[in-house]
C-alpha cells in the first residue's frame, strides 16, 4: 500500500464529512428520520400516504446542491470513466443490494456507526470489502 499524497485532500474531506454529519443529525433531530439515501429513495415506491413529501424534498435537496453551489463557486470536478454498460450494471447492483441490506454508505456507514450499531458495522465492513475486492480485480488483475 502506498499513499497517493497528491490526491489526498484531508481538509476538504474532513470539512465535507462534518457537513454530512450535520445533515444527518439535522434530519434525525428535526424530522425524526434516518438520512439513509437508499432508504429514502426506495421508500418512494411504497406510496405510503403522507410519507412521500419529505422523501422527495430531501432528494430534491441532493439534486439542487450542485446548481446552488455553482451560483457561488466553480463545481469540483466529477470524472466518470466507467462505460455505459458498466454504469447500468453498477446501478442495478447498488439499487438491489442496498435495499436488501436496508442501507448504504449513509444509512449504515454514517448514521449506523454514529448509533454504534453492530449490524451497521457488519454492513459497512462488507460493502467496503466488496468495493476493495472489486477495484483490486478490475485494476490489478484485469488491468483495466
Amino acid at each position: 500500500m502506498t499513499i497517493d499524497w497528491n490526491a489526498f485532500t484531508p481538509f476538504t474531506a474532513l470539512g465535507g464529512g462534518v457537513l454530512i454529519g450535520l445533515a444527518s443529525a439535522w434530519l434525525i433531530l428535526m424530522n425524526g428520520r434516518i438520512a439513509g439515501i437508499s432508504g429514502i429513495l426506495g421508500g418512494l415506491f411504497d406510496w405510503t400516504k403522507g410519507d412521500r413529501g419529505w422523501r422527495l424534498a430531501f432528494t430534491l435537496g441532493l439534486l439542487a446542491g450542485p446548481a446552488i453551489w455553482g451560483l457561488f463557486h466553480a463545481l469540483p470536478s466529477i470524472e466518470i470513466h466507467a462505460s455505459t454498460p458498466m454504469l447500468v450494471a453498477a446501478g442495478l447492483m447498488v439499487g438491489v443490494g442496498t435495499r436488501y441490506a436496508a442501507g448504504c454508505t449513509s444509512g449504515h456507514g454514517v448514521c449506523g456507526l454514529s448509533r454504534l450499531s453492530p449490524r451497521s458495522l457488519a454492513a459497512t465492513l462488507t460493502f467496503m470489502g466488496g468495493g476493495f475486492a472489486t477495484v483490486y480485480v478490475i485494476r490489478h488483475l484485469l488491468g483495466a
Binding site: 443529525a25 433531530l29 413529501g53 456507526l113 466488496g130
Partner: protein, 140 residues
Amino acid sequence: MSKYSISAFIAGLIFSFGLLLSGMANPEKVLGFLDLFGAWDPSLALVMGGAIAVGLPLFTVAKKRATSVLGTPIQLPAKRDIDRRLILGSLAFGIGWGLAGFCPGPGIVAAGALKSGAIVFALSMIGGMWVFHLLEKRKA
C-alpha cells in the same frame, strides 16, 4: 411545502454540499480510496471520520428523545440481526460501488450536476430499487 418537507430539503442540500466539498461526488476520487493496493487516496476515511465525529454526540441526543423538533416520532432502526440479507445485499452493493465508484448519495448529486454517466447510474439504481420493491411485494 410543509415545514416538515422544507426541513428535509435543507438536510438534503447540506448533505449534497458535504459530498461536493469532500470530493465524494467524484467517482474517480472514491475509486482512489477503494484502490487499496494501488496509489491509495485515504480521503474517504476522513469523510466518514468527520461525519461520525459530529454524528456520535448528536445521535446520542436523538436516542434519548421520543419526538423530533417538529413533533414527529424519532424513528431509529429497530433491527439488530446480522443476517444473510444484510451481508449478501451489502456485498452486492460493494461490488456495484467498486464497478463505477458511485454509491447512492453521490450518484444522485452527480446526476443533479447533469453528468450523463451519473444520470445513467442513478436511473439504473432506481430501477434496481423498483425490482426489489416488486420482489418484496410478491412475497407479501
